[in-house]
């Protein structure tokens, strides 16, 4: 097959991947703490490829009045404990498990600055500035909030969790985290932007499809001509 074929095919495939990424963003327009992915085309010598990058900009904070909700206003991620190691999230809509510990909605324990689960029991819980957790006005723990030296090494694991693929030394505690209790961070997906990207990818797809169609038709007629000459 000719290079132009491969090029057109890979251009088409790239647009499909971009649509996949945009669709996932749209599906998560209401996921707390979700960070949109940004897809861009990488051009090789003959082929097109797609890369995705997380857009770590903040989502809007919305007041919920729920004292187990917390949002980070600015940089940082909450640290949570999972069976496969520490994970990070911006989704601060927490709950309490039957043992009285602060957990995510997947019942994964939230970690304190001393890397311990946070026991809150059934008292009046508040999450205050700096991530200080109080129960009946007594400080019990501070939420662990960390940042990373190279955010491109953060990978999405799904279920609002991020995994750090860099060196453990790349994880740094945020000195004075701007944690706000009673708020959650909305998804940073902007439906208008995504629709514009979607339409752009779609039109590009259409254009490439036309090119490919021309190539196919040309080739077919050429083939018929050549065959005709042979016989």
């Amino acid at each position: 097959m000719s290079d132009s074929f491969i090029e057109a095919y890979s251009a088409l495939d790239a647009r499909m991947k971009i649509v996949d990424v945009i669709t996932n963003n749209l599906a998560n327009a209401n996921t707390i703490g979700f960070k949109r992915d940004f897809a861009h085309i990488l051009q090789g010598e003959t082929e097109f490829d797609v890369g995705t990058q997380m857009d770590l900009s903040s989502g809007d904070l919305i007041g919920t009045g729920n004292n187990l909700d917390a949002a980070i206003n600015g940089e940082g991620f909450f640290a949570i404990e999972t069976p496969s190691g520490e994970r990070y999230t911006r989704a601060g809509s927490f709950g309490v498990n039957a043992a009285g510990e602060l957990v995510t909605k997947d019942s994964l324990r939230v970690l304190s600055t001393s890397n311990q689960p946070i026991a809150i029991g059934d008292g009046k819980v508040e999450i205050r500035d700096g991530g200080v957790v109080t129960v009946d006005d007594n400080e019990v723990a501070t939420l662990k909030v960390v940042t990373f030296d190279d955010p491109s090494k953060l990978q999405k694991e799904g279920f609002q969790r991020l995994v750090w693929n860099g060196n453990p030394s790349g994880i740094k505690a945020v000195a004075d985290p701007q944690v706000q209790g009673g708020y959650t961070e909305r998804s940073n997906v902007n439906a208008i932007d995504e629709m514009v990207h979607l339409m752009a990818a779609y039109r590009e797809f259409e254009a490439v499809q036309r090119t490919l169609k021309t190539l196919v038709t040309d080739m077919n007629s050429k083939l018929i001509q050549e065959l005709g000459r042979l016989t």
Partner: protein
């Protein structure tokens, strides 16, 4: 390409559940002791097509990876136990819990259920019962000739009987709290049942051990805020629309591929 179709479908399903939750909140805007529900979502697994740092040639690496997400899923319908407004009724058997806790009622099956709805009545035998007729636990019997019923902030119920000047104590309204009230199983009729996630009920007298206090002559209104629900509904509807648009785009792209070869 089919990936985008399914991903958008998960988004549409999620928004349907969101609308269902909002509709239930709005329907219960006048339900005594109702607590607002909130649907929460999570992103699904990611397909790691090419991790960042993969070699693009013998000496270069791709600076960014390629991760394709597969959509969203509902993770929880949380209940927000924010205190509802108090409405004065002057009815001596209307009581509210100011703070944490639930009234305990005995269901016909013998099981204990929990409720924030404090509009009680007296049945034929003089027992304090909910509007459904489930008696309060521990049972409190109001004498038929009671003139005046007073329920104190600590839950003590005292009545003044005809021909007597001194009030007489007939029982105490006990309330119960849970480690994790969001883990309670709502069974409708304003009732909740404990689950493994909620933990066991810790019953006690109102005002003690972090339990709320009782106020007589008031009802706790639904804590649903209609304005907030309307805004949430608009957001959910628009999110549904953009997801359905994505389905259409994916479908169009598929049909164009089909048209490549005639």
């Amino acid at each position: 390409m089919l990936r985008a179709l399914y991903t958008a479908a998960t988004g549409m399903q999620a928004q349907q559940i969101n609308i269902d939750t909002i509709a239930n909140n709005i329907a219960n805007v006048n339900t005594t002791g109702f607590k607002q529900g909130r649907a929460e979502f999570q992103d699904l697994l990611y397909q790691n097509i090419r991790p960042a740092g993969t070699a693009s040639s013998s000496s270069t690496q791709y600076p960014v990876g390629l991760q394709l997400g597969l959509g969203t899923r509902p993770v929880a319908t949380d209940r927000i136990y924010k205190q509802g407004d108090f409405r004065q009724t002057e009815n001596p058997l209307d009581i509210v819990i100011e703070g944490k806790g639930f009234f305990q009622v005995r269901m016909p099956s013998g099981e204990l259920a929990y409720t924030r709805d404090g509009s009680f009545h007296v049945n034929g035998e003089g027992a304090m019962v909910t509007a459904d007729g489930n008696p309060l636990e521990p049972q409190i019997t109001i004498p038929a000739d009671a003139q005046d019923i007073v329920i104190g902030t600590d839950g003590t119920v005292s009545v003044t009987q005809a021909g007597q000047s001194a009030a007489q104590q007939v029982g105490t309204v006990q309330i119960a709290n849970f480690q994790n009230p969001s883990g309670l199983n709502g069974i409708g009729r304003n009732l909740f049942l404990p689950t493994a996630a909620s933990g066991d009920a810790n019953a006690g007298n109102p005002g003690e051990n972090g339990l709320g206090r009782i106020n007589q002559g008031f009802l706790e209104q639904s804590n649903v805020n209609v304005v907030e629900e309307m805004v949430n509904m608009i957001v959910a509807q628009r999110a549904y629309e953009v997801n359905s648009r994505a389905v259409r785009v994916a479908d169009d792209m598929l049909s164009q591929i089909n048209n490549l070869v005639r």
